[in-house]
């Protein structure tokens, strides 16, 4: 008995010792634990000195930090580390094992001679089996001297700077170098990303990028027998004065076996997407492949994150998460006029948030960062896709932080008025001395766990939530324990080292390559690991993230799989080598052996040309110049861009449906007669006379019971803002000639979104449901939608028994209870959808699940769960919208006259951890409510205030409150005629607003075509265009429309219709502000 305590004590001591050795801090129980620099020996700190001549005022990238590179420079099997110091001496650390490092900088002679260093790459440039080091520099700016330096490894622990001898002594504003073999001649060429410092305030036209500018333009250097020659011009590489290049991601994006390049450009310049033409040249194809890109693009990375064999892309930006920072720094509202200006100059729409671009078979990308909640990681530099927990899925690490936030609004408005009473030079000095008044931008690095479908934030769980400034970052298995550690180059503080503690809990394999020629490490090689019924694709490029380079190995987590079925190695020359059943949990070196087997890049698998392009109708919807956001400054989206209107019916009784297409204000509508093989325009003077009207929806029906079809057209907001043109119209058909009727229908000057015809009271004439969205001048108010009852002669009165006051977007008559009478389904926004059961001409509101207020855009029926009955489909805004970032509780829109000036406003508040904050900036609120400027003099006093504080509790209580409980699209499940459950769709159907569900007979089966997107949103949102069109059989079986021969949907889809022609069917895809797209298909 007495011996036990002694044993216990010994046990404790043992544990204590172990803890002390391994993890110095007791709180280190993360997946990735921070190892202190004392313990590791990595006492490097990127100390950046600022003085009057060298600072953020005269060099815009003063706070961008330096890179870090990993590679085994002494061939001892352990990755060594190189850190870039912007202004001081670079450092090289030799890995001594067990996460201990020795500073060998002095002997190595790599500290650098340039004034300002940036990115670093390790590569064996001279092909001697020793890793050399290439450090980029900014030179020629301010008094910065030097050039990009190449430190050739002498193999004895020393290096010799030899850039000039290799033609790599580029002198300019370099960010980072990317070594790869673009022309497949078995040597390493290099793409050097350089950055502009262009300060022309009018931006300059986008085509400036065609004119190469020295120092700042990116360059492509071809390796010609060991020396590098500039081939940028010949290879079609842009090098303009506008190229604020901050990173590139090299990858075979389109799976054609040749390396492509995505270049991230800061500020207004578009990013570049270079497709390798396989002939030594590239074609820039951003516009064809992306509809949404980040504005202030910084770091980037490419990897196949969803296991579909195509490499996806992330680009980082600077959208803050913190409520204070959001409201104290310049936000998206600054883009209100700027976006229009930049579009006019030829730039694409860009939005300030991280973008997660999902690759669709190499054909195009759709963006999902908001759905994944990886969009707002603040001032972000390095994104790294890697499997940090070895579970076989790619995770995401993002380094963050900036010394001072240079975009503070108070600093600009109230601190920096530098020149008062000072000469210009004194003013600059004063400005420099005041930079300490800028707020600190320390913010934690972030990490997200992936599962090949969606990312989950693990900051504070996998890594410490510790605000600091990390710029360059890499993953590398430093201690050879089979998991990836992380190293960061930190600004003004010691470098960061995160030790991965996954250790042996999960299986892995690491691949190392020996290739041929002057590309011994096999840069560009692909490996596909097949295990557990899944594939993982990785391609070997070492320069990743931001300014940094990782080791030339590929690491695959295998989760609990105990074996790999096979690994397909696709060498840079596209030869295929297959390794069957390799042993796992080790580093495997794969040596190239020549084969005759080439990898078959067949990108046509799964693609059909079922739909074929047609141009039977020449129609373009043109929007007018009405701008909702200047009328009501706080509304979240426009309600004036809802067209075109469409109606189809066989007007002339020739057996083929004719088509009415309405246009926006100032464009005449068209009636197109269908003869079975084509369309001809029917001359209708009244449409020319009525062109001032904006047409939102239309329906053909026999209003006056005379046997022919008349036309009701629902009006939207007209460019003249005149009520007279706001009215709906009933056009009476007189022997094929349409005239506008008077006094037959109700005056309706509201924004009408839908008109649906049906004899709901079963009295032998056709009645109408008229759905209204809003009052054109009063966004926030709910409005009446109603039933127009036909008196049998085409005169209509309101059905007083039907009362619906809401905001209607869409409606549909459909018998959902199989009683032979069509019921009325209505999609509303800031409200729940409505289902009215038709009970002998009485429309009775049916029960639906509670708390499903949404921004319902569309409604339809389909047997989506494949159980034999019709479910009710509901298109919402989707979860890939900015509302999703702060959705810890329902979204709320308040509606009241907050400033008591006889004009009601709306104010949206989002829920962040239980508190409601105003969505808008102080300046936006003040533009609608002058009182805000008096209540909050500066931005700091406004930031972090809840909506109750901002709008004052009293007025809030009096306000009308609209809620949105769900952003997800989904369906009401038909359960024996009851609709008691709302079931959200899978993520691929949440990527943008859904505006239309169309049932089509495709390949002999009823399938659903889903379209949407929105270009109506305000600057807070930008635009949503990730729903490229989906054809769904049911909730789990769906494919992109592009697999069927239809171009991906990049526009705001209004409606999709099908018309039977003599020999085939015609698919009509109608978009707002775009051309009508037509496809023929056969059932």
């Amino acid at each position: 008995m007495k011996k036990i305590p002694l044993i216990l004590i010994a046990f404790f001591v043992l544990i204590a010792c172990e803890n002390k050795d391994k993890t110095p801090t007791s709180a280190s129980n993360f997946l990735l634990n921070t190892i202190d620099s004392e313990a590791s020996g990595l006492r490097f700190s990127n100390l950046v000195i600022e003085d009057i001549d060298h600072n953020i005022i005269n060099y815009i990238y003063y706070y961008n930090g330096g890179g870090v590179a990993a590679g085994d420079i002494n061939n001892d099997g352990l990755s060594d580390l190189f850190f870039v110091s912007n202004t001081g001496a670079n450092k090289l650390y030799v890995n001594k094992g067990n996460l201990k490092f020795e500073d060998v900088s002095e002997k190595a002679n790599i500290k650098g001679n340039s004034s300002w260093n940036t990115g670093v790459t390790m590569a064996d440039i001279n092909n001697d089996g020793l890793l050399d080091i290439y450090v980029c520099a900014v030179s020629g700016l301010l008094d910065f001297t030097g050039y990009n330096e190449l430190f050739i490894n002498n193999g004895d622990g020393t290096f010799t700077e030899s850039a000039k001898a290799y033609g790599l002594d580029f002198k300019g504003y370099s960010t980072q170098a990317y070594f790869f073999d673009y022309d497949k001649d078995d040597d390493l060429d290099v793409y050097i990303v350089n950055h502009a410092v262009h300060t022309n305030l009018s931006h300059g036209r986008a085509d400036l990028r065609n004119k190469r500018a020295p120092l700042v333009g990116d360059v492509l250097l071809n390796n010609e027998n060991g020396t590098f020659k500039d081939v940028s011009e010949a290879a079609n590489i842009f090098g303009g004065v506008n190229g604020y290049g901050l990173s590139a991601a090299v990858s075979d994006f389109n799976n054609d076996g040749w390396d492509d390049i995505y270049v991230c450009n800061d500020f207004h310049e578009d990013d570049y997407y270079y497709i390798n033409n396989q002939d030594g040249t590239f074609s820039e194809k951003l516009a064809d492949n992306f509809t949404t890109i980040s504005r202030f693009s910084m770091g980037s990375d490419a990897a196949d994150i969803n296991g579909d064999g195509y490499q996806d892309l992330i680009t980082l930006d600077m959208l803050p998460k913190d409520e204070m920072v959001l409201k104290e720094t310049e936000g998206d509202d600054a883009m209100f006029n700027m976006q229009v200006h930049l579009n006019r100059l030829g730039y694409k729409d860009q939005f300030s948030r991280n973008m997660l671009q999902i690759n669709n078979s190499g054909d195009y990308f759709h963006e999902t960062a908001l759905l994944n909640k990886v969009a707002n990681t603040d001032w972000s530099w390095s994104p790294l896709f890697a499997d940090f927990n070895n579970d076989g899925h790619q995770d995401l690490f993002i380094s963050n932080g900036i010394l001072r936030r240079p975009n503070g609004l108070d600093f600009k408005k109230y601190v920096s008025s530098a020149f008062k009473g000072r000469s210009e030079s004194e003013g600059i000095e004063w400005l420099f001395n005041s930079i300490n008044e800028m707020s600190s931008g320390k913010v934690t690095n972030e990490i997200f766990k992936g599962n090949s479908d969606v990312f989950e934030n693990k900051t504070g769980d996998w890594i410490a939530n510790n605000p600091n400034i990390s710029n360059g970052a890499i993953y590398v298995d430093l201690d050879l324990d089979g998991d990836l550690d992380i190293v960061t180059n930190n600004f003004n503080e010691d470098a960061g080292l995160y030790e991965n503690t996954t250790n042996a809990t999960k299986n892995y394999i690491t691949l190392d390559f020996e290739y041929k020629g002057a590309n011994k490490h096999g840069i560009g090689v692909k490996a596909k690991v097949y295990s557990d019924g899944k594939q993982q694709l990785k391609q070997l490029y070492t320069s990743r993230g931001f300014l940094s380079t990782t080791e030339s190995k590929l690491h695959f987590g295998l989760n609990t799989a105990t074996k790999i079925d096979s690994i397909a190695i696709i060498w840079p020359n596209n030869e295929l080598q297959t390794i069957v059943n390799p042993s796992i949990n080790k580093d495997l070196t794969i040596k190239y052996t020549a084969t005759d087997t080439f990898y078959n890049y067949d990108n046509s698998i799964g693609k059909k040309s079922y739909f074929k392009k047609e141009n039977l109708i020449d129609y373009t919807h043109k929007e007018d110049n009405y701008n909702d956001f200047v009328e009501e400054k706080l509304i979240p989206y426009k309600i004036s861009t809802l067209g075109p209107a469409f109606a189809k019916a066989d007007i002339d009784n020739n057996g083929f449906e004719d088509v009415f297409i309405g246009n926006s204000s100032n464009q005449p509508a068209q009636l197109l007669m269908n003869n079975g093989t084509g369309f001809f325009k029917s001359k209708q003077n009244v449409f020319e006379d009525d062109k001032a009207f904006e047409d939102n929806d239309a329906t053909f029906f026999d209003a006056d019971n005379d046997g022919d079809l008349d036309l009701y057209v629902a009006s939207g907001i007209n460019t003249y803002k005149m009520d007279a043109y706001q009215n709906d119209r009933l056009y009476i058909n007189d022997k094929g000639n349409f005239t506008r009727s008077e006094n037959r229908i109700l005056q309706n000057t509201l924004v009408t979104t839908t008109t649906q015809a049906y004899d709901y009271d079963n009295d032998g004439d056709t009645d109408l449901f008229i759905g209204n969205l809003a009052d054109a001048k009063d966004f926030g108010n709910t409005v009446a939608s109603y039933i127009l009852v036909n008196d049998g002669k085409g005169y209509f009165v309101k059905d007083d028994n039907f009362n619906l006051k809401s905001k209607v977007n869409a409606a549909l008559w459909k018998d959902i209870n199989n009683d032979g009478l069509k019921d009325l389904l209505v999609a509303t926004e800031w409200d729940a959808p409505k289902i009215y059961i038709n009970t002998n001409g009485k429309l009775v509101l049916s029960n639906i699940p509670k708390n499903i207020n949404g921004l319902w855009q569309s409604i339809s029926t389909f047997d989506i769960d494949n159980d034999g009955d019709q479910d009710i489909l509901l298109g919402n805004l989707g979860t890939n919208t900015k509302f999703n970032l702060n959705f810890d509780g329902p979204l709320v829109m308040y509606y009241s006259d907050f400033d008591k000036n006889e004009k009601k406003e709306t104010a949206i508040a989002y829920n962040k951890a239980g508190k409601y904050y105003p969505l808008n900036s102080k300046d936006e609120l003040a533009a609608q409510m002058n009182i805000i400027s008096k209540l909050y003099i500066d931005h700091k006093s406004f930031a972090g205030k809840t909506i109750e504080d901002v709008l004052r509790q009293g007025t809030i209580n009096d306000a009308v409150k609209y809620k949105v409980h769900t952003l997800a699209s989904g369906y009401l499940k038909n359960d024996n005629g009851n609709f008691n459950a709302f079931i959200p769709f899978n993520n691929p159907l949440q990527v943008a607003p859904i505006t239309t569900f169309t049932t089509l007979n495709i390949e002999g089966k009823n399938q659903l075509m889903v379209g949407g997107n929105s270009y109506k949103m305000n600057t807070y949102h930008g635009s949503y265009s990730a729903l490229k069109g989906i054809i769904a059989k049911d909730t789990t079986n769906y494919e992109p429309v592009s697999n069927y021969g239809i171009d991906p949907f990049n526009t705001q889809i209004k409606q999709i219709e099908s018309i039977k022609m003599k020999h085939s069917n015609l698919l009509l895809i109608l978009s707002n502000a775009n051309t009508l797209k037509l496809y023929s298909y056969k059932n």
């Binding site: 022309n200 931006h203 200047v630 006889e902 533009a927």
Partner: protein, 442 residues
Amino acid sequence: MKLKNILILLTLFIGVFSCEKNYESINISSDHYHNTVDHLTEVMIHDIFSPPVASRIYAYPNIAAYETLNQESDAYKSLSNQLQDFNINSVAKTDNLNLKLAALIAYIDVAKELVFSGERIENYRDSLYTEWQTINPNEFKSAKTYALTISYQVKTWMNADMYKETRTMPDYNIYTNDASRWEPTPPAYMKGIEPHWNKIRPFALDSAAQFKPKSHPPFSLEKDSAFYTELMDVVNLNNSIRAKGDDSEEIAIARFWDCNPFVSVNKGHFMFAEKKITPGAHWIGICKIACKQTAANFEKTVFAYTKTSIAIADAFISCWDEKYRSNLIRPETLINKYIDLEWAPILQTPPFPEYTSGHSVVSAASSEILTNIFGDNFAFNDTTELPYGLPMRHFKSFKLAAKEAAESRLYGGIHYRSAVDVGVEQGVGVGTLVNSKIIFLK
């Protein structure tokens, strides 16, 4: 007992007597008024008010002071029933009312309502109040009571001038197919400032359009058109001035009269701004110089400020009416689009349509008023911009100063010739009207 009572009474009497005897009158000089106007200017710079809004902020406090001072003056006539919708119910004055003190109190009371940082005006007021309370509490109290009854009426009138309503009116719409239509300008591409300023109630004008100027030369990019010629003149003039260098007289003139309250600068993400006074504030400054140079007494000082600020405010209403009638595009936009992508004007283009030039209208109107008050050929050293790092300039008369101010917009590269020439005519019209229609002197 009786003696004791008498003693108490006596003590009390002496006490009261000695009190009254010891308090001196609160002395209010012209400098007090100048300082208060200057303080308001400071707060306006901090809060960043656009030129039209600033002109309104100058006018109402001056009117409140003027009315407080001159309800029963022998020399000056009340503005009641002279300015649009303005009438003051006279208030019974107490004996020995310190009217100058009351005028200053009324000024401050109105001023604090007009700015965002009302607290800064209140702090200024409170320190003065404390001082006056100490010097002579009774005199202060009665002056304050009187002042606030006047200022209350001025504020009520002020609050019905459509300012509040125009705050929520639609912004300028930049969607257009019209090549001549104004677009936001570099670097901040700010929204058009005050598109509804013509709905603000004027003081002397019968309507915002009373001095509707003739149209600018018809927009045309044809080489021989009058418009294009004026456009090219801007390019050539700016280029030749730049060639002369930063020390040229033209650049000195352009900078001196810049009067752009918020010149923002972006360098990458780094944002800062230069804040200065507005054109109206500059002429308020000249008014101060004239007052000081002539050692104007308090009454004349208040009169001069009031009349000048009324003319400035009406000048802005008149000018803005035309700006958002013609909605003319700025030279910078056209030059960047059609002539020289990299061209930038010497001054930063302010965020509103081009025609007519606000500084021209305001300077001309102001100089008419100041000439009327202080006489023509009134030579002065204009030191208004010294606190903003710009040197003094000497002028032989108000009109010559106004002429230079108007001309400076051409040097600055932010206006065409017509906007300057026609702007001056428009301003002379406004100034002449104020001189003739509003009677200040009995």
